[in-house]
Every structure is written in C-alpha cells, then in structure tokens.
C-alpha cells in the first residue's frame, strides 16, 4: 500500500502531464522510498493507480537500474568505478568495503544493514573516488573516511 501522502502526491503529479502514465517513475520512486524495494504488489498498485498495464510497469522497473526489484539492505552503498574514479583508485575503496563488511559486490550483509554495488559514473568526477549512499554523495574518499561513514550508518 501507498501512504496517504504519496497517494496525494501522485494525484497532484498527474495534473502535470497530459496523461497519467508519465507519473510511473515518480510513483515507483515513492513506493521504493516507502518499502525499500519494488515488489510485485508495488507494481500492481502503480499500474492500478495510473490505469496502465502491469506488464508495462514491470518493463519500466526492469529497465532503470536504480529501481530495486529485489530487497536490499537498509543502506545501499554505490561505489562509482567508472574511469575518473578508477584513475583515483576506486578499486581500493571497493576492496576496503568488501573486507570491512565481509560482503561481495552485489551482496547484502546478513544483518540487512548494507548492500554493496558498483555504480556507473555518478557525476562526481572532480571529487573522485566517491560513493553514494541513499541520496548522499560521499566524495574524495580514502579508507579512513569510508570507515567513519560506515560506522555512522546504523
């Protein structure tokens, strides 16, 4: 189920477009923010609210990389490993997180606290290496900084 606030927001957003379908990304974002990931239930609900086929919503979810179609940890750590970050040793950051959390890339810690993934360029090339956790960008990373960030994320 969507929260009342989200349902209201979806109705508001519908007015911004000549038809309801364009709201699909925003609605999926709201579901993911409320539930952590987008389940089948979420897709069915979005389809119903916007009056579009369920398979279309599934197609959208599977196309865009930021939508989690399986459950993820409370904090999804996305380390950029594209060229600019790679040149500034992003592989060391990935390895350090793997070793600290004892989790592989794509994996989630057993306590459900962290999921670690590698990301494509996040537009933070001048402050490389960097990672994104939630909406927050953590830039100019080194191992000590990563340790401090990880311990601050409960």
């Amino acid at each position: 189920m969507f929260s009342e606030v989200s349902l209201k927001k979806i109705e508001e957003l519908k007015k911004r477009y000549p038809r309801p379908q364009p709201v699909v990304l925003a609605a999926l974002w709201m579901w993911q923010e409320e539930h952590g990931w987008i389940s089948r239930e979420g897709m069915v609900e979005v389809a119903r609210l916007l009056g579009i086929p369920e398979h279309h919503v599934y197609g959208v979810v599977s196309f865009y990389t930021m939508f989690n179609s399986t459950p993820v940890g409370r904090h999804k750590i996305e380390v950029c490993t594209n060229v600019s970050c790679m040149l500034r040793n992003s592989d060391r950051i990935v390895r350090h997180i793997q070793d600290s959390l004892k989790v592989g890339v794509g994996g989630t810690t057993p306590d459900g606290r962290f999921t670690l993934v590698e990301a494509e360029c996040l537009g933070s090339c001048g402050t490389a290496p960097m990672m994104q956790v939630g909406d927050e960008y953590y830039e100019n990373l080194d191992e000590a900084k990563v340790d401090a960030i990880l311990s601050s994320l409960k």
């Binding site: 379908q21 364009p22 990304l25 959208v60 060229v83 990301a119 360029c121 537009g123 090339c125 001048g126």
Partner: protein, 465 residues
C-alpha cells in the same frame, strides 16, 4: 585568457531567489517578454550559441524548427540527465545557480511559444533535484513560472522530472520516452522532435548548460557574447577536469582555451609532474588523444575536430604516464555494454563482444586476431544503430587502437598461426604482434580466412602487461 564567470559567478547564496534577484536575476526574462518571441530567437541565433550537450548544434537554429502555427501543445525538455563519464558540470548549475537555468528555460519557452517545460534530471541527483525544486517553487511564487508571467499573456508550467538510472535517457528521443513513462528506448529519426516529439507534439530538447547561457546572451547582447572565446563556437564553457590532476573540478572558461592551459594552469598539473600519457577531452564517448599531441589543441568544436576528437561535454579526463590504458578502455567498454538499451543488435551484442575481447587483453590472453576482431566489431557498430550510443561505444575503441596500438600489442600472446596451409610456429617473442604499423599489418588473413590456432598450445611465453 581570462573571463569573468557568467554561468557560475562566485556570489554567496545565489541559489536563493532574493540574492539572484538582487544581482539582476529575472531581469532578462522581463526584457525578453517585452520583445517579440522571434526577436529573442534571433538574438540567440546571432550569438552563435551551440548546444553544450555534445552535438554542438546551433541553439537558435534549433529553436526555429519549432512550428509557429500549430494547434498542438508545444514542449521544451531541458536535459539534465548528465551521465557521460567524466561530466559533472550541470550539477554545479543545479547547486550554485538554478535560477539562471529556470530563467533561461522560461525565456526559451517564450521564444518558441512553449506552454510546458520539463526539466529531466538523473535519478541519482536527488539531492540536487530538491535544490532545483525549491528554486522552481520560489520562481512560481514570484510569478516567473505559471500563469500570465510578469503580467503578460504568456504562461508556461515548469516541472522537474526525475529519472531512475539510465545513461541512454540523455539521448533526446530516449529522454522523451522516459518522460512519457516508457522504457528509455531511443526513437528512429526522422521524424524529428520539433515535428513529432513528446506525445507526438512539437518538442525542443536543450541541455542544461545551453539553457543557462540564454539569459547571459540577452544580458550581454549577441554581439558581445559572440566575441567570447572561439568565433565559431563562442561563449563560456564549463570544463570538468578529472583523473590525474592536482586540482580537479569544473572551470568556467571561454571556449578556445588550450587543453594544456586547462590541465596545467587551472587544474594544477599532473601529480608528481608526471608526463601525460593520454587525455579524453569531452567525456568517455570522445576519441582519446595522445599526451604528446595536446600542444596547441583548443577546447571548442573546431579545435578538437582538427585534433581528431570532439568537444563532447567538455569533461576532460587526464591520464598520467603510468596509466594502464587497456584497463581504462575495458572499463569504458563495460560501461557501454551495461548502458546499451538493447534495441539494436549491433550495439546490444557488439558492446558485449568488445568488452569480452578487451577483458582478454586485460588478462594478457588475447591474440593478434583479437585486435582485428575488436576493430571489426567497433566498425560494425558505428553508424548502424538508431541512436548515437553505438557510435559512442565504438569511438573510444577505434581511437585507442589507432593511437595506442602498442598498448594492445604489448598484451598480445604469441600464437601459432597457419598461413597458406603451412604451419608456422611463432613462439617465443611475439613476432606476429610486433607490427606496429597501419591496421592490417599484423593480420593473419593470408589465406583469405583468419585461421588462427591460438590458446597458447605451443607453450607460448606469457607476456607481462
């Protein structure tokens, strides 16, 4: 070459509407609305402004493609998908001067008679989306967006649309599909967006930085603007420098600035005073340049074209002499494989093949035939896809082979080759791979077919990378 920053002036608090207005903000919208729409377009046309998203298309000319008489709704999409590796300029506009962008978009909408503006921002920039949304709300509250703007008969809405992680949505037709709530597949052109864009209606798509230049043109006047930087590609340009430099970041510079000045004067040079091995001048899609070939090359469409590359998004990636370029290229190829939308076979399959072959080079398990195959795959992607992602995937590979062939040859494993039916054992030194000449000099196609018995059968020596 010095220039006062016009897009990102160092004014504290400029993100807020009060400070923005105190510095003359929205004055150019006022000025525009007092002009005829076609006069505004003409001003932009004469300024020489060219799109900052990579294609360098003349902005004013693009605006004239919009039909004047139509009973359909007209749309303006502002492209803030910014996902090209090495590019981080639009983010600075969102953070430091969002009202300039909003003002520019409303002026553009006025010039084209557009009633609806969508600003598409990549999903990862949620923090910056919030900053822009706050600015949009402020602009609405003061009557710069919405109904009867500044008391005139002109109305336009402004909606920020959040993406969800897809590089391809920076391609204009894919961006429109994404706004429509579709998978981000590029569309076949023609029809072009000005005829058949969002929901089949006339649509113009401009990059964020392009739009941010519009109020600047009106403020300076087209003549003064056209004198900034390179005459054929004038104006300020946001240059992002990353990689092996002491002071990476975004620098607002006049076009036509020397790449060597960007690297040494603005970005503080290379750490440890190392030599520059290579530079990617305008984001990962642009052709790589050799460090020795940078002298005299300028950051503008003409200068980089002459140097055998392109200005792209002006995201300059610097690589020092110790850089493993095969690793860099493998990473770039992996990126395009991941981001290919999958519509066109040459791109969907080819990007994956290129990545696989490059991984063999990375592991020093490739053969000379792999080098030929890699180039062949790249050549067969280029020009054979609906959108430019295919070309963008091919160019780095083609240019790396052309300009850094020795990097591949160093990694090639000696192979056992059967030429014209006679087995020739080429063990020991990688004789087959020592060509270093033009493409074709090291092929094994002597009998018309690339017959290679590879895989180190003859106890070939391992090459260290």
């Amino acid at each position: 070459m010095t220039m006062e920053p016009l897009i990102l002036p160092p004014v504290p608090g400029l993100r807020g509407i009060d400070v923005y207005e105190a510095h003359g903000g929205y004055g150019m919208l006022r000025k525009a609305i007092a002009m005829k729409p076609e006069e505004v377009t003409d001003e932009v046309k004469k300024s020489g402004l060219r799109g900052r998203g990579g294609a360098c298309f003349p902005t004013g000319l693009k605006w004239t493609f919009m039909p004047k008489q139509t009973d359909k709704q007209k749309y303006l999409c502002v492209n803030g998908d910014e996902s090209e590796p090495g590019t981080f300029k639009d983010r600075q506009i969102f953070e430091l001067n969002p009202h300039l962008l909003i003002e520019g978009a409303v002026i553009a909408a006025y010039a084209m008679g557009v009633g609806t503006i969508y600003l598409y921002i990549r999903g990862e920039y949620n923090k910056w989306i919030a900053m822009v949304q706050k600015a949009v709300d402020e602009a609405y509250a003061r009557g710069y967006c919405g109904e009867s703007i500044l008391g005139s008969a002109f109305s336009t809405s402004f909606t920020v649309h959040r993406g969800a992680g897809a590089y391809i949505c920076g391609e204009e037709s894919s961006l429109m599909n994404s706004i429509e709530g579709e998978r981000g597949y590029p569309r076949v052109k023609p029809p072009f967006p000005a005829q058949f864009g969002l929901w089949g209606c006339p649509t113009t798509i401009n990059n964020v930085e392009t739009i941010a230049n519009v109020p600047v043109i009106l403020r300076l006047g087209w003549e003064a603007y056209s004198k900034i930087g390179h005459p054929k590609h004038p104006g300020p340009i946001l240059v992002g420098v990353s990689g092996h430099v002491n002071n990476p970041g975004v620098f607002e510079l006049p076009t036509g600035v020397l790449l060597t000045d960007i690297i040494h004067k603005y970005a503080g040079g290379v750490p440890g005073n190392k030599k520059i091995k290579a530079v990617i001048p305008g984001g990962s899609s642009t052709m790589i340049l050799r460090g020795e070939a940078l002298e005299g090359v300028t950051m503008d469409a003409e200068g980089l074209k002459a140097a055998g590359s392109s200005v792209g998004t002006a995201g300059l990636i610097v690589m020092d002499e110790d850089t493993d370029l095969i690793r860099v290229l493998t990473r770039i190829a992996g990126f395009y494989h991941h981001e290919s939308c999958g519509q066109c076979t040459p791109c969907r399959e080819g990007t994956g093949w290129m990545h696989k072959i490059l991984k063999r080079f990375e592991r020093c398990e490739a053969t000379t035939a792999d080098l030929d195959l890699l180039l062949e795959v790249a050549n067969n992607i280029e020009g054979n896809t609906i959108c430019a992602l295919g070309d963008a995937a091919a160019w780095p590979v083609q240019s790396m082979i052309k300009r850094f062939r020795e990097e591949f040859e160093k990694r090639v494993k000696p192979t056992l080759v059967i030429a014209s039916g006679t087995p020739v054992i080429a063990s020991g030194a990688p004789v087959i791979a020592s060509g270093g000449g033009a493409y074709g000099a090291t092929t094994t196609k002597q009998s018309g077919l690339p017959v290679v018995i590879a895989s180190g059968a003859a106890g070939a020596t391992k090459q260290s990378g």
